[in-house]
Subunit: 421 residues, 2 copies
Amino acid sequence: MNVALLSIGDELLGGRITDTNAEFLSREVTALGASVVERAVVPDERTAIGGAIGRLAGVADVLVCTGGLGPTTDDLSRWAAADLLDTGEVIDDEEVAAAVRTWCDGVGVPMTEVRAVVAKRPPSAAFVSNDQGTAPGLHFRLGSCDVWMLPGPPVEMGSMFRRHVAEVIGQEASAARPIEVRAAGLTEVQASDLLGDRLDRTLRPQLGIRVGGGLVRVTAQDPDGLCTQSQVNASAEAARKALRHWSLPADCEALAEAVGVAVQGRGWTCVTAESCTGGGIAAALTAVPGSSAWFLGGFVTYANDMKVQQLGVCQTLLSPSGPGAVSAEVVEAMAAKARLLSGADVAVSVSGIAGPDGGSPDKPVGTVWVGLSDSGGTESRCLRVPGDRSKVRSGTVDAAMQWMRWRASGVVERLPWERAQ
Amino acid sequence: MNVALLSIGDELLGGRITDTNAEFLSREVTALGASVVERAVVPDERTAIGGAIGRLAGVADVLVCTGGLGPTTDDLSRWAAADLLDTGEVIDDEEVAAAVRTWCDGVGVPMTEVRAVVAKRPPSAAFVSNDQGTAPGLHFRLGSCDVWMLPGPPVEMGSMFRRHVAEVIGQEASAARPIEVRAAGLTEVQASDLLGDRLDRTLRPQLGIRVGGGLVRVTAQDPDGLCTQSQVNASAEAARKALRHWSLPADCEALAEAVGVAVQGRGWTCVTAESCTGGGIAAALTAVPGSSAWFLGGFVTYANDMKVQQLGVCQTLLSPSGPGAVSAEVVEAMAAKARLLSGADVAVSVSGIAGPDGGSPDKPVGTVWVGLSDSGGTESRCLRVPGDRSKVRSGTVDAAMQWMRWRASGVVERLPWERAQ
């Protein structure tokens, strides 16, 4: 089964945003066992959109278009579809209009003519429901091609693709469903070393490896439709074992979920004390639904005075003659006091130099101390995280979470980015 | 000047790698004042590559192709060019062959037949030198289109584009550089209403509107090369004024930066007290370099006990007979105490039901109370944020930041998602 993808939007062609939709859809379609035969990006122009749909419908069994379905004047996808199907005509859909009216009433905004545009569709197209936003998608056949037009916002598009389009593609495609194994806190090269000969491209099932969203992602797949699903599953399971305690449990999409599994599995609760990450560890942990069962809270002691007042860090440690805010002493004091004040079983703390300013020859940007306190005592480790402010912060969040997860699971391992002592 | 971009490679269509080349080139071309009129991605197939080059050469003045120029059997771009130009014929280029031989001798590898492939070119194409790798690019005319084929590795491609292609595009391009105006805390439709007739697509400069990264982004641009830079600048400035206090200052990429500008501009410091956002407000604020000048820290009081112990929230407020954790009383107590404990000039606090669980008929998922305390007193407002857990949290972070920013700037306005009282 051949699939083509069309992304619509001036902001893509101007390079102002990354076309993450095309990348997501490429992965999903491939994962369903079908092939992407072409991708295209066209501007917010009615004739350009219509021309591209017509052309791609001629080369693919399924065409998925994204973008240009919103209500404003530069959203022209519905009009391009109307040109192709019904010489430009659109009709009002009562059901969608009613849903938009309900939405407007709910959030207390007027139902304007502009908002009502999303209820218009070409008579020959059907609406595709959107449970994440107000603009529905469109679905129609053009020649022998099944055409799906989805809104541009990635959350809406992704949800609609999975609910409506994936099934159609999956039913027709013959290959086994690929399985992804996720690992945190190691590089692609380190993961490759652990996987060794399993990465041979001629093996079936085949393993693919890539980095995305702060994780190493290894996919067991069936590129030629020659494997059973249980062979693919077994290959993924072998990869998970090979990645040892860096791999996440099968149902965890993110490292924070794996922290929850480990902390809750141990019957523990946890707390955070953060300086350079400014609440990023707490925010990552609380992104997990149900985290209130194992996460109590956190202290964001960004200013030195907050470290003293909230966590009782000794003023002399922070004075010019002391070890300073980025030190073993300070993160250990932070972790121990956060644990004590909150009554949590385990506390992690971080203090570091995220940059761009604040580095010194002694403590360059990327120098981060991490502390951990539990009933066995309090320790600290020093990281040297490469990259800019954003990378130093996200690398620190991940290292601190990994340490807490490993501690709850009884794993002893060097942290990601940990400096040799 | 119209530019088209063609990316070549199975790994792109399979979603195994991100097409950073197309995004880079889109930005570079737009910055040079030319327009990208279409982007396409095709697989490593000789006929697909040739077909796409032929088609895109018909719609653009300049076509930049990337990928498929290496020496291995799945690198087919040179053969596709030869098909188009010289009925498949290639010749050996002595100069390039000699350079490859020197490179092989230098790194001590044999000069194999495979390595020698990069010295072959269609007689009608010229080589484009590559100072970062061994595979040169190709340059030729097809009809009225100037075609450049560059290798796929981003470092080589980027360097070659800037040294050889940018000048050609820059000399010919006449359009002014586009300017983006960002606004926070309103929907695309609300922004459209404020901009009104300015969004007419026939106007020059033209305004485009989209949503991305939690912001409404309005771009003033010159699609046909008919405007001066100062006309584009003036159009962007008019859009910024029309978007009133929702628009961010010109140099702010994110709402958090605008909070910093406002808080620091007032000579204030700030602090946060968070429940449902779990540190997300503090994390967003500290993502701004230099935020230590105006952000002191935060309290992440996720569990009720943390609200009592850290922020002195009265136990009776949280008891079953009291108003509960998600209430005006609790967020006001949180904000007032956070301000007092930290010594900050302004404090914001949030407590809400992010979901998926915890909702009730009385307080459904998305119900969030936000508190603000400054020297003038303490107030609270109730939001109803639509969407899933992630959207409720990010919408709350933005609303709280906007309130703090507006307060520091003396703006009185309904908050994003604020419920009618």
